[in-house]
């Protein structure tokens, strides 16, 4: 059992971390009332920037490169998401449309520039990705240590810490109260003197930052290079986590961890005798079927923030 956990938990953590970051971004954006189908594109942008920066500056920053890379990717992700903010907040674009465009645009730009800069469709492998580490002290705790604190990525724990920070920000600070108010009833917020547009801009930019972070963490922990197939569907899984988690930061984190667990189980169970004879296809679809069952069984109805997806037009009723 402990053996299984020991091989399960670390994979769950590294698989989930990028989803957690990105889903948190989705939570911010959607809590403020801006639907963000563009998470996939934000991740693509993050992965692209993370890898390119890493390749270019590995010599300069040495072992700090991956850290600087994800910070830069976060930053560029934030800037990139301004497009979504401008379109859906200021220009009253249909937010789903704008999100879909973000997805196409990010992939287009990423691969176009890759070809432009590297003369080929995919970059080389980075020399400074993230590596697993043991967390000092904690790793030595018996049983718990090996399961949770040995051979893990620091980024995984950062993701979990971020989820708690996001929860605190959203549910305990004035900023969070305002942000949620804007997503529930923008006109009420407006009459209370809250600048609805500014809040939504901030929320979308936060989602860009976190999406960029998620994408770069994915690229630098799992893939090591960038191509058109680096991010395929992770952003949509993150979106699913946002909804699965009922637009709550901790819920989204839980959902992302659940996806990671289901994925890992489908691989690990191949090695478990009882499950060995189960046809491969059932293991392959298991994570997705489990998610549906979980939703149908005990998660059930999730109410989106009331004003999610509605452009706020001052003075309309």
């Amino acid at each position: 059992m402990i053996d299984i956990l020991q091989s399960l938990i670390p994979t769950v953590l590294f698989f989930s971390a990028p989803l957690i970051f990105t889903a948190l971004g989705g939570v911010f954006s959607e809590r403020s009332g801006v639907v963000n189908i563009g998470l996939e594109g934000l991740m693509v942008m993050g992965a692209f920037v993370g890898i390119v920066f890493n390749l270019t500056f590995a010599d300069v920053f040495g072992s700090w490169t991956p850290w600087v890379s994800i910070i830069v990717a976060t930053f560029i992700g934030a800037i990139f998401s301004i497009i979504h903010a401008v379109a859906s907040v200021s220009f009253r674009a249909n937010q789903v449309v704008s999100g879909v465009a973000i997805n196409m645009l990010a992939l287009g730009i990423g691969v176009y520039l890759t070809k432009q800069w590297y003369g080929k469709g995919q970059t080389d492998m980075v020399s400074e990705p993230f590596f697993r580490t043991d967390i000092p002290i904690l790793a030595d705790i018996p049983i718990i240590g090996p399961i949770f604190f040995q051979g893990i990525y620091v980024t995984s724990y950062i993701a979990i810490i971020f989820a708690f920070i996001a929860w605190y920000v959203l549910y305990r600070t004035p900023f969070g109260l305002r942000l949620r108010a804007v997503g529930e009833h923008p006109m009420a917020a407006d009459t209370n003197g809250i600048n609805v547009y500014r809040m939504r801009y901030i929320a979308v930019i936060l989602s860009g930052a976190l999406g960029g972070l998620g994408g770069s963490v994915f690229a630098l922990t799992i893939v090591s290079n960038f191509s058109h197939s680096t991010i395929v569907g992770q952003g949509f899984m993150a979106l699913a986590a946002v909804i699965f988690g009922k637009w709550h930061p901790l819920g989204a984190m839980g959902a992302a961890l659940f996806f990671g667990l289901a994925q890992s189980l489908s691989v690990v169970s191949g090695g478990i005798p009882v499950l060995q004879d189960v046809p491969q296809v059932f293991l392959l679809i298991a994570p997705y079927v489990l998610t549906i069952l979980a939703l149908a069984g005990f998660i059930g109805r999730a109410e989106a923030p009331r004003a999610n997806g509605e452009p706020y037009i001052k003075g309309s009723r």
């Binding site: 407006d190 009459t191 001052k314 009723r317």
Partner: protein, 513 residues
């Protein structure tokens, strides 16, 4: 200068309409100033201009004599202007406290919301002005009256000196209205000034000092309440004489149309809301259900109309059991329903007016044949209803969303009455409407009665109940506790019955027994 607020020659246009055309309002320090006008006259618009939600095309605003430029609600707040909106501006999943502090939250040093401090401050305010609220309750769980008190607290919390109330009483029960009037008086005593928008002339006469009348976007003038009468106000507002008492012949009840026996309805949490209710409505009579909001009226109606499951008991329409049939079947059994919440139930706001006019009949000939819609028929019908019911809309293809509340209501009433149902349920049919529209609707209801239809009227307005009903059933705690006739009772007694007193205590004799 004793004017706290002056709005001079204000003009505000919306695409295709001039909502405010050169209107002037001057509010004195410490007065309650009424703003009166028909539905769509431009009252809310004018107040939204004052509150900084809209920018006027022309005109100027002065606060205490000083010319100001109010470009957003924050600035209005800074000038001590607070507004309680016609449609509440409350975030439902938030608590009372969260709603009140939203936008000016007290924080601890670490940047966390200081919820304790906020709750304390709110408690103080609420004690001082007699605004009873539960600071930790969620908005979605509290009554409409309390929601309104939250709105008022919101303005006070921000230190408002001038409070704008946009139709505050439209959604309140008689008791709550009395409470509100008390609250307004205590606010004035504390040195505040109030602008009150209402359609209820009685209230204006009772509490206001002066009244500015607006008609179709234009200012008609300001009168001193002391020097005027309700009739004068009404004719100023609509530009003609209005009669308040609805003329009607004596009812000639026929056979029983609606028969409810031992009806029991629970809500999702398994709490009984309607507790073994019995009720009968005959052809050719209007039965009014009087009662304080929250005594099971909505659930009763929803159970009859098939929108909610009845847990036991029976409902018969035209001697046919309709208990727990789906809404379509119930409608087809001869029911018309003017719902309480017109935005939620009554209309598909994003459909054109015309398509809303066939919401109950679209699947029938001549509006459709073999599932294919016949738009010509739909629009012909709509045009004729629009004319007959005086629905003011640019065209039949205008989205229902664009209509004013009163006109939306007229559209619904037209649609439901036109089908000529055997039983017409009218839930709060005149809520938020001006006297002209109310008069019109009352006339329609009585016309239907005279055609031999059964009418069930649910209203929190005792005036309306007394005026229109042939028979009054008082509902309290999920049951009909008394059956009386308007001739044999008065508002005083009804009020007591609605509060749960026994018939004998209230000194009324029960007509049905």
């Amino acid at each position: 200068m004793d004017h706290v607020i002056e709005m001079l020659n204000i003009r505000k246009e919306f695409p295709g309409i001039v909502a405010n055309d050169n209107i002037t309002v001057q509010v004195k320090q410490g007065e309650i100033h009424a703003l009166l006008g028909e539905n769509g006259a431009g009252k809310s618009t004018l107040m939204n201009v004052l509150f900084g939600l809209y920018q006027p095309e022309q005109g100027e605003i002065r606060v205490k004599g000083e010319k100001v430029n109010i470009t957003n609600p924050n600035i209005a707040n800074d000038y001590g202007i607070g507004m309680v909106h016609q449609h509440f501006m409350l975030v439902e999943p938030f608590t009372v406290t969260q709603n009140i502090i939203l936008g000016s939250e007290p924080t601890t040093k670490s940047g966390k919301i200081n919820i304790k401090k906020a709750e304390r401050e709110i408690q103080e305010l609420s004690d001082r002005y007699g605004l009873k609220v539960d600071p930790t309750a969620k908005i979605s769980d509290i009554s409409v009256g309390m929601q309104q008190r939250v709105e008022i607290l919101k303005t006070l919390y921000r230190g408002a000196e001038v409070l704008i109330f946009d139709e505050p009483t439209a959604v309140l029960t008689p008791q709550e209205i009395n409470e509100l009037i008390e609250i307004m008086r205590s606010l004035i005593k504390e040195g505040k000034s109030i602008i009150l928008i209402t359609h209820k002339l009685k209230e204006i006469m009772e509490v206001c000092d002066r009244c500015t009348v607006i008609r179709k976007g234009k200012g008609i003038g300001t009168v001193n309440i002391k020097d005027t009468t309700t009739n004068e106000l009404a004719s100023l507002m609509v530009g003609r004489e209005v009669s308040f008492h609805t003329e009607k012949k004596k009812a000639v009840p026929g056979q029983t149309i609606l028969e409810i026996e031992n009806l029991l309805v629970k809500d999702a949490r398994k709490v009984d809301l309607v507790k073994g209710l019995n009720l009968e409505v005959k052809a050719g009579e209007i039965v009014g259900i009087a009662g304080v909001d929250g005594n099971g009226q909505s659930e009763l109606i929803e159970a009859i109309t098939g929108l909610r499951k009845a847990n036991s008991g029976s409902i018969k329409l035209n001697n046919k059991a309709i208990t727990n049939l789906n809404p379509r079947k119930v409608t087809e059994s001869g029911l018309g329903h003017i719902p309480q919440d017109r935005h939620k139930y009554g209309l598909v706001l994003d459909y054109p007016v015309a398509e809303n006019m066939v919401l109950q009949t679209y699947y029938k000939k001549p509006y459709s044949k073999a599932t294919v819609l016949n738009f010509k028929e739909v629009y012909d019908k709509a045009e004729s209803l629009i004319k007959e019911y005086d629905v003011r809309t640019p065209s039949a293809s205008t989205l229902a969303r664009a209509l004013s509340g009163g006109n939306q209501q007229k559209a619904i009433i037209g649609r439901e009455v036109d089908r000529s149902p055997d039983l017409l349920i009218a839930a709060q049919p005149t809520r938020g409407l001006d006297v002209g529209a109310i008069e019109f609707i009352h006339k329609k209801l009585i016309e239907e009665r005279d055609k031999g239809k059964a009418i069930l009227l649910v209203s929190f307005e005792l005036d309306e109940i007394m005026d229109v009903s042939d028979r009054i059933a008082v509902m309290f705690d999920g049951k009909i506790v008394a059956n009386v006739t308007p001739e044999n009772t008065n508002e005083q007694q009804l009020g007591l019955l609605m509060a749960g007193s026994q018939l004998s205590e209230a000194g009324v004799h029960n007509d049905s027994e």
